[in-house]
Structures are given as C-alpha cells and as structure tokens.
Amino acid sequence: MPIKSYVLHYEESKREELVKGLQKLQGCEIIPAQNHAVIVLVTETETEELDNKLYHKLLEIKGLKHVSLVSGFDTK
C-alpha cells in the first residue's frame, strides 16, 4: 500500500487549474505553499499498479512544470 510524497512546481498563472485537477484525483492530499509556486502532494493508494496509474494521471495535469518525488513508503 504505497504512500508517496512529492514537491510539485507549477506555472504561477495556472494555480487554480492545477489545484482543481489534483482535487479530482483519488488518494491525493495537497498542501499548497502560501508564498511560492510549489505544492506538496501526498498520495496513498492500495497497490503499486494504482500508484503508477495515479502518477501518470498526475503528469497529464496542465500547468505542472516539474514533479520531484521526495519519499515513498510501502506499508503492507
């Protein structure tokens, strides 16, 4: 049961669009920074496969400049 955290860098002007896109994804918790174009994203999924799918959906969201994975745990 993977739990991952990421730092997302986005284009300043796309913040709202991005937050909405992320909110639609299941298993995501988002923590936007208040003074930088950065969002901390924590994902929690049931299987490796779902985790992979989620990651690819994430990459499709418009306005994202860069995704860096910070930590990953498997709690099975």
Binding site: I3, V7, V38, V40, S71
Partner: protein, 775 residues
C-alpha cells in the same frame, strides 16, 4: 484494517508529508505552508529516536532514526546537527529502507567446487585466517592485502591498519578513498604540510561568493547546496559554477562558466596572473606567511605497471613566479580553455576584491585529475595570494564524497603510506605507532607498497595472492575494470569480500562475509569539515551479520595476534576509539572524548579545552598557533604555506580522429556510488532506474541519435551500451559525453582509463577518449 495498521499508515503519511515539506524548504528557504498542516506533523509517536550520522555522503548530516519494536521505521534530519539543521536529501530520508532487501547477505558463503555454500561465520573466519597465514608462510607478508573504504568506520579502519602494518608487518593496505580524495590530501600536504580543510561549513553563513570548481553540489552535496541557496536568497550571496558540464548546480547558480576538460590548471594560473597584474596581492600576508616553490614537470600519467615518481621541489621567489605566469595571460588561456577573457577576469576580480569573502568548493572534479595535486595547489595559490584563507567566509574548501573519507581513510590512515599519525617513511611516526600498538618498532615497514590501482594490477600480475575487501565494490568503481575483473577472477588470488549485499566484486570472491549495516553496529565517522560523529548500535542485524571491525579482530585472534586485539565484542568501538585518540593528542589534532561525542551531534578537531576549532591556522580561533602572528601554517616547519608554480599539462588521453569524444563520469543524487545500497531502495531505484549517456544536443543531432536510443561508448579499453540522454539531467559541452557509474549492469568503468596523478596516485575518471556508435 486493524487500528494498529491505521495508526501506522497515518504516521507514515505524516512522515511523507514532513519529508516533502522539508525538501521544499530546502529549495525555497522561507517557504510558508498553512500552519494547521505543520501542527499535524508527527512528533514521533511511540518511536525511540536515536542519533547518528547519515550513511551516505561526506556532508555528514545528522540523522535521527525512529526505532519501534527493534525495527528502524523512520528517519528524520537531526535539528541539533550544525551540519544540516534538520534537513536531509532524498538519499538521507530513505537510507534504512535497503536493510530489508531480499538478497541481503545474512550468512557467510564459501566457494566449494564452484558454488557458494552457506557456512557458519566462525568457520568462514577460520578459513580467512588460515588462508592469510598460509599465504604469508608460502609467499611472504607482502603477498596479502586489504582494501578498505572511506565508508569504513573509524574503528574498522583502525583495526585493519593495526593488523596489516602493526601485527603482520606489511603496508599492503589501501582504500577506495584513494579513488576520490587522495589528490586533496597531497594538495594539502604540499601546500600546508597538514591535511584537511582549515574552515568549516559555517563559512557558508559568511561568504559573499561561492565558487564551485567542477563540483555539482546540488546533486553531490545537496544539503550544503541548500544552505548556500538559502544564503543566496536571504542575503544575496552569489554562486559561480565553474565546470565542464551544465548541471543542476549550474542552473541554480548566478553564473555558469564552462571550460574545456583539463584546462582548469591554466585558468587557475590566469586568475593568479590577473591578481598579480592588477596589484590585488595581499603583500603583507604573502611576505609573512608564504614561500614559493616549483616542482618537476612532464611528470607522466602512471598508465604503466610499477610506475614510480618523486617530485623534486625547488624554492623560487615571487619574481620568478610572476615571470612563469606570463604564459597564462587571460588572452592566451582563453584560446584553449574556451573560457572567455571576460569570464577569466570576472573570476579574478571576485578573488581579488579585498571586500568580498570567497569560498572555493571542489570535490572529484579537481581530485580525479592526472594533475590533481597541482590543481589543488593552484586553487590554494589564489587564496594565499589574496590572503583569503582561514577566516569565516574566506577559504578554499575541499569536500569529500564518502562519509568517513576524512575520519577513517585520512585521519586513521588506511593508505599504504599512512599511519594514524604521520607516515610509514618517518621513523618517529613508526615509533609512536609501535608504542601505542605494543608491537616491535621493526614490525612496521618503512616503505609504502601498493596504492589502489597498483594493488589491483599486482592482483592481476599474480604478485598479491590474498586480498580482503571491506565496505567497497572495486569491480564497479575502479577505473579500467576491463583489466581488473579478469585479474580478480584468476585462481592465483584468494578473494575475501565483506559486504552487506551481493555485488560484482562479491561475485568473484572465494569467501563472502556478511557485514552489519551502518545502524546495526556502533561506530564513528569523520566528515568533510573535520567533524567526528558517533552513533550507538540501533537495531540487531539479521542472521550472522557481524561488524567489519569485529570480523577483522576475530581473524587477527585466529592468526595468533590476540594479545594486540584485547577488545570486547560489546565495547570494542569505545575501546578502540580511546586507544586511537592517543595518536592525535595535542592542540593540532586533539579529538573530542567519546562522552562528548555521545552527547553532541559531532565535534570538530582540533578539539582543545572542550572546544571545537572551526578555523585552523588563524590565531583568533586556533590555539595551536604559536608564532605570535595572526596566522600560523604550523604544518610546515617554518610555519609558512607554499605557493606552487605548476604549469598546464594535457590530459593522459585526449579525443582524436578515432575516439573523438571526451568521456566524463560521475554520480547522480539518487544513488550512492556503485548503487549497491541505493538501487535496493525502491523509491530511489524507481527515480533513477539505470545509467545513461548524456550528449550535447548538437552532437546528438550530428550523430543522428535520439533520446533513449541505445548507443555504444567505446574506448581503447572496452565498451558499454547505454540509452542516450539529451537535454535531461545534465548537459555536457560539445565534444563531451557524460555517464554516471552507479549501474552495475552498464559498467562504464570498463571504458575508463587507469591514468592517475603521479603525486597522489588518484585516477582520472573525468577524461579519456571514446567513440560513439548507434546500436
């Protein structure tokens, strides 16, 4: 799901959140998240947090490991550590996740009739001791060797040295730190007569400029780089990246200056030319504290077996030095360094401005260099001419790669020529070692034998008939493994490998010994800023895993040296450290007592009157200064540092018609050296699953190579096939390709050249000639 599982998941989630927030804070100091989020972060639950240094690099970040029911379940940065102030990089956070890897070596394996047989550890150690004894009896003591590591703990290095040099009486001990910072050592010794940096990481808080010489700190020293970025953002400090490849560091720097491989020697001289020509020399400092010298030139490259070199220093005067520099005007140097006259003058201006504080950082870029000692000398020249040294925010700072390259390899001295204090060539030093080790003085031979590359050449030649490697993976990390792998496979040499995981080196072993991992044993490391850090054993290791120090002691006892190794299994770390620090007593190198190290997150030597010495050679901070002046370079008999006349000389092998590209090799942030640990950490492996070869887009276009396409990199020694990487992680200059060496399935060191600096004997992994073919 049980309540326990839910609690655990929620805790892990909070840990993941904290890690990402800390990472964001390291990239954007001052970043603010909603306060309710921060309040929700875990404070540790029922975990017991145990302190220690990070396992992975020479920065030496303090970590806290959360232990629950005897298992390491979490890692966080130690907020009390002066090094990292709570911050860690991606490797640091995930370090303990390799311990449980399915293929962990948990039992000794002995090769019998071509296959490995699980063997009780004591039986395996009997075999090692008998084989070592038998080899010595048959072929002499110089037929056995040990090859250890800058990742060995201080006690591990100490007992290896005591066994080889004190008990057996051979100098056949060297270590993988030869491959990463031997040039830094010879640089320090030739210029200052004393090893290791004079400054400390607190320099970061004071410098106006950070000039990085061939040093991708954003990936290799990430936590220090974060601290530099913090200073850049908060008070406008500037980072100038001087390198042969555009990297993450170049992108975050204020300015990136690229140079043609090997020409750093000429650019450093051109900077000195400008400093003198513009009257920026700190005359008083130079007159009082410096001598001038020149050494031999055309000194060779060591590519032949049994290569020998001895420098012949001759004193010169300032005028002669000035005259020599006339060959290095910015205009002349710009022609072959590809650094513009403007950029050379820009760099000289920064160093020359008396109102700007400058720290120069470097690591493998300058050390893995066939003129590694020289380029270290030359950067010292710049700081000495301007008097910008040994003061907060002003100084040259050679960083190390491995967590205890300083603490173990350099301070304990696990090189063929070294002793815990001084060198084997010096009678006084041998007498001191003999006294503390309680061995006859005659036991310690006065001549060094094999440095790392020559040691593996001797294995290949059949001169070394027994070798024991600990905490290192030479068949991935040596240059020209295309020679040394078949060499180690030969029946003429009995190979013992102690490690935590199977590696290409353990694949050729006759005996594999299962080593304890970092937190499964106690130990001490010494980082780049002379900081010694201690940790206690935190968890039990699986199966028969045993600390390397204890395996060495057990072998020593079995060989009949029990009297010299009277340590107990429970307290050997403490007992060995207390014996070892006798070597360094005094104001110049005194080490902190263990009680202090147990309480604090490390202490910097010289530790004098209960205090760390942050800036050596400066009378204001360093109690060992005794000449009555502001500065005292007491490593040299006359108290003066040496400004060296060192010319530009070309690389051992340069691109030509047949092999038209430079090959540069190095590391990536996700992986620790040969990847034997980090490639077993799923999150790191997934982030960087395999090696690649980076191209400049123009070269890729000319060759018709697309991103991801397989290409073959071939040199006169071997070849390696990898996917192409264009405009991704890094960007080499035109005519150069870059390959990281962490991937044992794509062995780039089959391609590299075993040329080395004749003074330091450190190989140059950054420059050889290759051709590229699509496959």
């Amino acid at each position: 799901m049980s309540q326990k599982n839910i609690d655990r998941r929620s805790f892990v989630k909070k840990m993941a959140t904290a890690a990402a927030m800390t990472a964001a804070a390291s990239m954007f100091p001052g970043i603010i998240f909603a306060s309710e989020q921060i309040e929700n972060l875990p404070n540790g639950g029922n975990l017991e947090w145990k302190k220690g240094p990070c396992r992975f690099c020479g920065v030496g970040c303090g970590i806290l490991v959360g232990v629950e029911n005897g298992k390491a379940v979490a890692v966080k940065g130690d907020p009390n550590s002066f090094v990292n102030k709570g911050l860690l990089c991606v490797k640091g956070y995930h370090q303990t996740m390799c311990i449980q890897a399915k293929d962990r070596l948990t039992y000794a394996l002995v090769k019998k009739n071509g296959s490995y047989v699980k063997t009780p550890i004591s039986e395996a150690l009997d075999i090692v001791a008998n084989k070592m004894k038998e080899t010595i009896e048959k072929h002499g003591k110089d037929a056995v060797a040990m090859y250890t590591s800058g990742q060995s703990t201080i006690p591990e290095g100490y007992v290896a040295s005591k066994l080889m040099k004190g008990a057996i009486g051979t100098n056949n001990l060297d270590c993988n730190a030869r491959l990463c910072m031997a040039s830094a050592v010879t640089g320090f010794l030739t210029t200052f007569g004393a090893d290791e940096p004079m400054g400390c990481y607190e320099d970061i808080n004071h410098a106006d400029y950070f000039i990085t010489w061939g040093n991708n700190m954003a990936e290799m020293h990430p936590v220090l780089f974060s601290r530099m970025l913090e200073q850049k953002n908060n008070r406008g400090a500037k980072i100038i990246d001087f390198a042969t490849r555009t990297t993450r560091s170049s992108m975050a720097a204020n300015k990136s200056i690229l140079f043609e491989p090997q020409t750093d020697l000429a650019v450093a001289n051109a900077i000195c030319y400008e400093i003198i020509n513009n009257g920026w020399v700190n005359k008083l400092f130079v007159e009082k504290h410096c001598n001038f010298s020149k050494g031999s030139t055309n000194i060779g490259y060591g590519t032949e077996d049994k290569f020998k070199f001895k420098d012949k220093p001759v004193g010169i005067n300032f005028e002669e030095f000035k005259k020599f520099l006339e060959d290095y005007t910015p205009e002349k140097v710009a022609k072959y360094s590809k650094v513009s006259v403007k950029d050379i003058k820009y760099l000289a201006n920064i160093y020359g401005d008396p109102n700007k504080k400058v720290v120069s950082y470097w690591c493998m870029g300058m050390n893995q260099h066939t003129r590694g000692t020289w380029i270290n000398n030359l950067v010292y020249n710049i700081h000495l001419l301007t008097g910008k040294i040994s003061q907060p925010g002003n100084g040259p700072f050679s960083l190390t790669g491995q967590p205890s390259a300083c603490g173990t390899a350099r301070e304990v001295g696990t090189f063929t020529h070294k002793l815990p204090k001084g060198v084997v060539m010096n009678e006084k030093h041998r007498r001191l070692a003999a006294k503390i080790w309680k061995v006859p003085y005659e036991n310690i031979p006065s001549k060094p034998t094999y440095h790392a590359t020559e040691m593996f050449r001797a294995v290949d030649r059949g001169d070394i008939k027994f070798i024991w490697t600990q905490v290192t993976n030479p068949l991935v990390s040596l240059p020209k493994t295309s020679r040394y792998r078949p060499g180690m496979e030969k029946d003429s040499c009995f190979v013992v490998v102690s490690d935590v995981f199977p590696t290409p080196t353990s694949d050729v072993a006759d005996v594999i010994l299962p080593a304890s991992w970092h937190i499964e044993k106690g130990g001490l490391y010494g980082n780049s800023e002379r900081r010694t850090q201690h940790w206690d054993k935190m968890i039990e290791g699986p199966g028969d895993t045993t600390p390397d120090a204890w395996m060495t002691i057990e072998v020593a006892k079995r060989m009949g040296y029990g009297d010299l190794f009277p340590y107990s299994e429970e307290n050997h770390v403490e007992e060995i450290y207390n014996e070892y620090i006798q070597f360094h007593e005094g104001a110049k190198h005194g080490m902190a007592p263990l009680e202090v190290l147990k309480k604090e997150s490390g202490a910097i030597w010289p530790y004098v009157n209960g205090k760390s010495t942050q800036w050596r050679f400066n009378a204001k901070y360093d109690p060992a200064c005794s000449n009555g002046e502001d500065f005292h370079f007491y490593g040299k008999p006359d108290g003066k540092a040496v400004i060296w006349q060192r010319p530009y000389e070309p690389a051992a092998e340069s691109p030509d018609q047949e092999f038209p590209f430079w090959l540069n090799t190095g590391r990536v942030i996700e992986h620790w050296h040969t990847g034997s640990m980090t490639r077993r950490i799923p999150v790191l492996h997934k982030a960087m699953p395999h090696a690649y070869v980076e191209f400049h887009p123009d070269d890729a276009k000319t060759l018709g190579i697309r991103n991801g396409e397989k290409v073959k990199v071939t040199s006169r020694r071997g070849s390696c096939t990898l996917p192409a990487s264009i405009n991704q992680r890094g960007l080499p200059t035109k005519g150069q390709v870059f390959v990281p060496f962490f991937d044992e399935s794509m062995l780039i060191n089959d391609v590299t050249l075993d040329a080395f600096c004749p003074i330091s004997k450190e190989p140059d992994y950054k420059k050889c000639a290759v051709k590229i073919e699509r496959v």
